[in-house]
Assembly symmetry: C2
């Protein structure tokens, strides 16, 4: 961190470790519930992350009952079933293409936003893009309250939509297990790309 | 924050303020350069954020020279031109659909990943989804070193690709101004959706 150079507040080492450097995707979880108050604490933090036009298309379905879990597990890819069956709490993260219905409240200085988006062919794409950015915030927010996230892209999205999203205009973007990490929650860390493989300057 | 309830490390109030609660999207910037070391500090933090199959498709083009900035500004939407013309540093954030070329290094326990993704029709979508998640991490990482981010989705993506991404397989997903906030860097904060508008339980 370049904190030595910055005459303004910067994140301390422990926080950087908690959110990024030491945090890991968990594949097993301790037998310790995740309660409503914890989910609220996560949301109340990550809701502040910015989205285009303050669109906030992310929605969460908390899969809490045993019956709901039983409906979800078979829709996951094979390698994601055991962990989803045993996680304390599983979130279906969706993108709501009807986010524009909230815009008179969320984006009040552009009164025609709802109307102009109503017929916009790219609305679903805008929803998915911004919900994906918010998924990044959400993973950080789960870690911020001391839990581990296990985000998964491997599931039958059409079936999850049909089973859980009913008559909404939401599309699932990820399924995320959350809880305290269990025994052997992860294997060795995979390498990250080097700065020079990612960044060019013009 | 539910920190009082968690017997394990959680983010402190100041860090939550820095990254989420007090952080704002900046529309003006102080006349103070953003140097290479600061960009490295951001990357070295956010590179640890998880992506599907450790795919890490995010790439950054740092628009640093006056000539490059002059090529970029007219490709931005009108409302994004003045701030992009005056920001200390502007990043073009892209999704690299050729991320799979790195997978022998980044995902070594699945040796056929590169080959099986080479002909995968969804590769561009995977790249865009994961780069968008990483954009979430990036915005947090910019704030983590005490800078403000000004992410923008309003620009001519085809023109930016043609002008800056040449013969790569990258697509621009966002353009982000970074720096210290300047005078009147933001207006009043827009409302966020309530927990019950976002979260349902099954």
């Amino acid at each position: 961190m370049a904190t030595g150079e910055t005459p303004y507040p910067a994140l301390d080492e422990a926080a950087g470790d908690l959110l990024f450097r030491e945090a890991r995707t968990a594949n097993t979880f301790a037998d310790q519930p995740v309660n409503e108050e914890q989910v609220r604490a996560i949301y109340e933090l990550v809701k502040w992350g910015p989205t285009a036009m303050n669109s906030q298309p992310l929605r969460l379905v908390l899969v809490r009952s045993a019956q709901a879990r039983e409906r979800l597990v078979p829709l996951m890819s094979e390698g994601n079933r055991a962990k989803t069956a045993t996680a304390p709490l599983t979130l279906i993260v969706t993108a709501d293409a009807d986010f524009h219905e909230h815009m008179p409240t969320t984006f009040p200085h552009k009164p025609d936003a709802r109307e102009s988006l109503a017929g916009h062919p790219g609305r679903e794409r805008i929803a998915r893009f911004n919900a994906s950015i918010q998924l990044g915030y959400l993973i950080i927010g789960i870690r911020a309250i001391g839990l581990a996230a296990g985000p998964m892209a491997g599931f039958d999205a059409d079936a999850v939509k049909k089973e859980f999203l009913g008559d909404t205009n939401q599309e699932p973007v990820a399924v995320v297990n959350i809880g305290r990490p269990g025994p052997d929650a992860w294997v060795g860390r995979n390498p990250r790309l080097e700065f020079d493989q990612v960044v060019t300057t013009v």
